[in-house]
């Protein structure tokens, strides 16, 4: 899977699954943190995103430590999916 395409798919998935209706894909910086200072997502969004990622890409994010690495940014999430997708 080509990373650029995956990054765009992830932006669309984040907006749809978290119902970020006011956010456009172009406004999501793929290098910015997803939580806190970046998109400003919270722990409940993280749970929703884990469920959506498992359903869409068949990957597992088993715990918070792995989540910190995978959710560092959209780019980091794309790298995690490429590395772990079955």
């Amino acid at each position: 899977m080509e990373k650029g395409t995956l990054v765009e798919e992830l932006k669309a998935l984040i907006i749809k699954s978290l119902k970020l209706e006011e956010v456009l894909p172009a406004n999501i910086d793929p290098a910015a943190p997803l939580f806190g200072s970046g998109l400003g997502l919270d722990s409940i969004d993280a749970l929703e995103l884990v469920v959506a990622l498992e359903k869409t890409f068949g990957i597992r994010i088993p715990d918070e430590d792995v989540g910190k690495e995978a959710f560092a940014s959209v780019n980091a999430l794309a790298d995690y999916i490429i590395k772990n997708k079955k």
Binding site: A46, L47, E64
Partner: protein, 130 residues
């Protein structure tokens, strides 16, 4: 099973009259008998949606099996299809879906005679240190 054996809640805030654990830590069913003299019921016999959500959270707490250390955190994509009234038996079912970072997602349904009243996600926080 008495619901308060598995919940920290006490009357009048126990929103279940009976509950059954189908699979420990994952799946539970329960009922709420809606009566006109229930303090939660509005004049006219309408069961307010907020108390139905609370009943869904309580059956999810029983499904999760963590009596003292669970907290109601959020609802997700929860939709109401009809109103429940005094005289109805509200049937509740909750199934564990996913846990991440202390938060647990449950898929939950409230129904009357098989008709869906409300359906959606209930998120509970389980305090791992408790």
């Amino acid at each position: 099973m008495e619901p308060f054996d598995h919940l920290p809640h006490r009357q009048p805030f126990v929103m279940l009259d009976n509950a059954e654990v189908i699979e420990e830590g994952r799946h539970a069913k329960g009922i709420k008998l809606i009566t006109v003299n229930d303090p939660a019921v509005l004049p006219g016999g309408i069961m307010p949606d907020i108390y139905i959500i609370e009943a869904m959270a309580q059956i999810s707490g029983i499904a999760g099996g963590r009596k003292e250390s669970s907290r109601f955190a959020a609802i997700k994509n929860l939709n109401f299809s009809r109103t429940a009234y005094a005289g109805d038996t509200l049937e509740l079912e909750s199934i564990f879906e996913k846990k991440f970072s202390g938060l647990c997602m449950f898929r939950c349904r409230a129904s009357v005679s098989g008709d869906t009243v409300a359906e959606g996600g209930i998120i509970l926080y389980f305090d791992e240190t408790a």
